[in-house]
Symmetry: C2
Subunit: 245 residues, 2 copies
Amino acid sequence: MANPELPPDDLPVLGLDADDTLWENEARFHEVEGRFRDLMEPWADGTTTDSALLATERANIARHGYGVKGFVLSMIVTAVELSEGRVEGRWIGDIVSWGHEMLDHPVQLLDGVTDALDRLGTTHRLLVITKGDLNDQMGKVSRSGLADRFWRVEVVAEKDEASYAAVLDRHGVEPSAFVMVGNSVKSDVLPVLGIGGRAIHVPHTTTWALEEPDPVAVAAAEFPTVDRLADVADLLVARSAGRPS
Amino acid sequence: MANPELPPDDLPVLGLDADDTLWENEARFHEVEGRFRDLMEPWADGTTTDSALLATERANIARHGYGVKGFVLSMIVTAVELSEGRVEGRWIGDIVSWGHEMLDHPVQLLDGVTDALDRLGTTHRLLVITKGDLNDQMGKVSRSGLADRFWRVEVVAEKDEASYAAVLDRHGVEPSAFVMVGNSVKSDVLPVLGIGGRAIHVPHTTTWALEEPDPVAVAAAEFPTVDRLADVADLLVARSAGRPS
């Protein structure tokens, strides 16, 4: 079902988020947050632990960046603070080992992703744009078994207008010809609309507090939402046929 | 002193390492390793601590990647192991704060780097290729005040032949037309020679054990070594004039 109109190098570029768009991610963080609440029980109740961890993550995001290693460091800082330095080293060792478990975890693709990519790849060059830890993200791409389906993979430190503009410029893609697909309105939709591109929102189950978009910006933005990655191809076909989306 | 022969887009591409080629890096790690030895004194002498930390780093490099956050995690794992879990949480908190200090540290350019880049930039497009933590490396480029001098900046997870080949391909640079400059024979010289490029070694004071190159590969390789980045321009001029280097 290759597009007969265009040689592969001329196919339009479709941007794809990775975490929670192609594979599970947030759920692993939630699971470990549960263990962390249990560990902190001698010093704080679950709500206090959750708020303290989120506050630490927020205060350190510019230094830690996104990803597992920064999350582990934030848990450690929070554990030391909530316990007033009394948490034993062996428990801190456990926190690090949870991080190792997350880093080593097999990649669990979301339902229907492989088929959806196979279909999208006949009409588009697929450009993965993900943020987080470079080493971990490239490892997940490799372990996902999907690497051959991607035209390019970009890991960026932050998904804002400047980083999207830089990525598209570097790959010779006009923003007006670019569509981004992802689960985060804040990271995958709003900044792409902001530079004159288009975006399709594919929500996942949960959204991390630091990924909550500004509600005013969301209200002012227009973008389609579909249930699953498999629905993106239909939407793109409908659009290119001039039908309203 | 712009090259009158070529418009900027046609200038050859010169690759530059960043850590310990443009600015101090390894020295900060050494300084913190000293503090870590002191912290571990109740449980291990300095030599034991150094070996244990290096073993932890080596065992975790694929998961942790390069950079400050992985270094901090390795120190924590080592502290828990050497103390058999007895190290207090407050000391682990100190280890994390050393990491934060490293991440926040002002960038200290090596002597003569700004002038050397100004000169090299008249004859080459400057492509920084560095490995480590994406967030930290991009932050250092930004804080260095040098960003405007670089054509592109690439942070890679590992500096091996495959990653150099991918970076050059992505930027449309033929390996045979590419020269890389850096302080690490293992990361900046051998893999570039391996894909048919050239490289210039600019040694820095110390080399991390995991950056020690295979001596057999070094013996078989031919590459020039200069004392300072400022000498690279002279070497390139001498070469392009056909003089032996």
